[in-house]
Assembly symmetry: C2
Homo-oligomer: 342 residues x 2
């Protein structure tokens, strides 16, 4: 869909007023002229709830609020992120994403134009991810009680298969694959926030991954999937190790990290394995399926790799082996490395 121009009726307010979330005429106008004009939902936008017909299919249902700062960053913005994040959460359950809800918390003083750009970005991302925004909500908070814009999206997806995908299906011997190079989203946010300029601009990897997951599902048995958001690769693997009660051995040299990201991390004192991503995931598959799975993942990203193996039950350690043979434990972070990256 071509990007629409913001109607004059909205532009004349310049900034969001509390009344835009107040249930009166201004909110009515905002809904009519921005959300309905952009999303063009079919059937008519429901005030209270959207009615979905699902014909006996199993569903997945997820929710995420987005508080990323700044609102716009290299490779994305809070709007596209709010679609990708929730769609990817559905994909990680093995579901085909179908419907999203959208709830906005607007701070008094947010420029209308900023909101407009974000809403356009939401719609573009929804079209790309082949999901529909079917119900919504807008709230306003006074100046100083928010941070411009927070977004919640919740999603419903359909599970078209009977495979149980989750940590409990992980087996010793499973190969661990990553769908592409890691660490870009967090570094893109940090560079935008701190005004850092690197030689090459580092763009967020923010993107929907459901298509790739559906392709993977059709080709190989998948034991577990997890997207690499807050806390990065290391946290995702630790969470799975804890839930599945298994240990994992990773080969440090196999983990794909862009040279620019590696350089920025060294400069900033960050470990790229803990830096957030928004379009990357890990897949756990039986060893016999690893080659097929890798070939499938590489159709999206040539940097996809087999990075390690599930080794045993009864402990939950994630170990990283360097090319020189030294080993270190990759632990869960106890604090917060980069706040508000999603």
């Amino acid at each position: 869909m071509a990007s629409l121009t913001c109607p004059l009726a909205l532009q004349r307010y310049h900034q969001v007023l509390l009344a835009h979330g107040g249930g009166g005429r201004l909110m009515h106008q905002l809904i009519q002229e921005m959300f309905l004009a952009t999303f063009q939902p079919e059937p008519a936008w429901q005030h209270d709830a959207a009615s979905l017909t699902v014909q006996g299919d199993r569903l997945a249902f997820t929710t995420d609020s987005y508080v990323v700062t700044p609102l716009f960053f290299p490779g994305g913005d809070i709007g596209s992120l709010a679609v990708h994040g929730t769609v990817n959460d559905l994909a990680m359950a093995g579901a085909k994403p179908c419907y999203l809800s959208l709830s906005l918390i607007l701070e008094e003083g947010l420029p209308i134009d900023t909101l407009w750009r974000v809403v356009q970005s939401i719609q573009a991302a929804a079209e790309r991810a082949q999901v529909r925004i079917v119900t919504g909500d807008t709230k306003g908070v006074d100046r100083g009680k928010g941070d411009g814009l927070f977004i919640n999206t919740s999603g419903i997806g359909i599970l078209e298969h009977d495979t149980w995908i989750g940590p409990s299906a992980v087996q010793p011997g499973d190969q661990i694959l990553v769908s592409g190079d890691v660490g870009r989203h967090g570094i893109a946010i940090l560079s935008a926030r701190e005004g850092l300029a690197f030689e090459t601009a580092i763009e967020s990897d923010s993107a929907p991954v459901a298509d790739r997951v559906q392709a993977l599902l059709s080709q190989v048995p998948i034991h577990c999937l997890r997207d690499l958001t807050r806390g990065g690769l290391a946290s995702a693997l630790n969470e799975i190790a804890l839930a599945a009660e298994v240990s994992m051995d990773l080969a440090s040299g196999q983990i794909p990290v862009q040279a620019e990201v590696q350089g920025a991390c060294e400069l900033l004192g960050l470990d790229p394995l803990y830096v957030a991503n928004e379009g990357r995931f890990v897949a756990f598959v039986p060893a016999s399926a690893a080659d097929t799975a890798l070939a499938c993942l590489r159709q999206s990203h040539a940097s996809a790799q087999v990075i390690g193996t599930v080794v045993k039950r009864g402990s939950a350690q994630v170990t990283l082996q360097s090319s020189t043979g030294s080993r270190r434990i990759l632990d869960l972070l106890s604090g917060e490395q980069l706040p508000r990256i999603c």
Copy 2:
């Protein structure tokens, strides 16, 4: 369920830290020891998405963020409100509420105890409303970039009937019923916020209404339902009038308002017809069904009333007739009467 005691492991932090939303150990602990301990979801809490089996039923799906201030008020709190509001939105579509998602935006510095109390209240309200919290999310924002706690709940409900309920089904001649006295929630919030003491404490009407709606649906044909939240009765009726392109005549003397609420409104210069409610709704039914519908509503609240009639197509005016015969137009508010009441 008995209210649990907050585990010491959580209490020792006193306040929410950014790390509680950071994907590391503290967040892991918060999820394990507060949310899982309280909600005890079955099957296991899903990291990415909950899988729901719905056996071919039609669904309703809705979302709402809650930014009410203060977090606790006479008759409720942000947690119970976040359940009632979303469950009631599902009920207004004629759906039986089933599943809720829960997403929290926590400001750094929010006392852990406050969060705990709210989470308990959420679970108690969910049990009362017979819905289950099946998936969740937690985000943190830095001090000064939020207001303690914002909540989003999204909901899925099942539509067990084929009746189309909505403004387009409204007909001239329809009777307009209100499910109980109006204006209490907004006045309860305002009195808590401003430290006003009235002779009698005015409690919010915040409550789930789905049971009453299901009872109504089983007894009479319903054309339209709408809960009376932001903007109150007047705004809800105006929205329906606009959407249905019908006019409505209301009898001022029939609209139930508690004497205390009326008094407080006079003192504060507010019109109770514009003040928010959280457990009240209007129902549009054929004139022949009005008596049955009223009897059904009065099983919950003796103050339920028939308050007016849909008079004609082609305009969208809501007119209020006083007991002395004078008429005034009840318009949509152009601004914000009471911000952050939900």
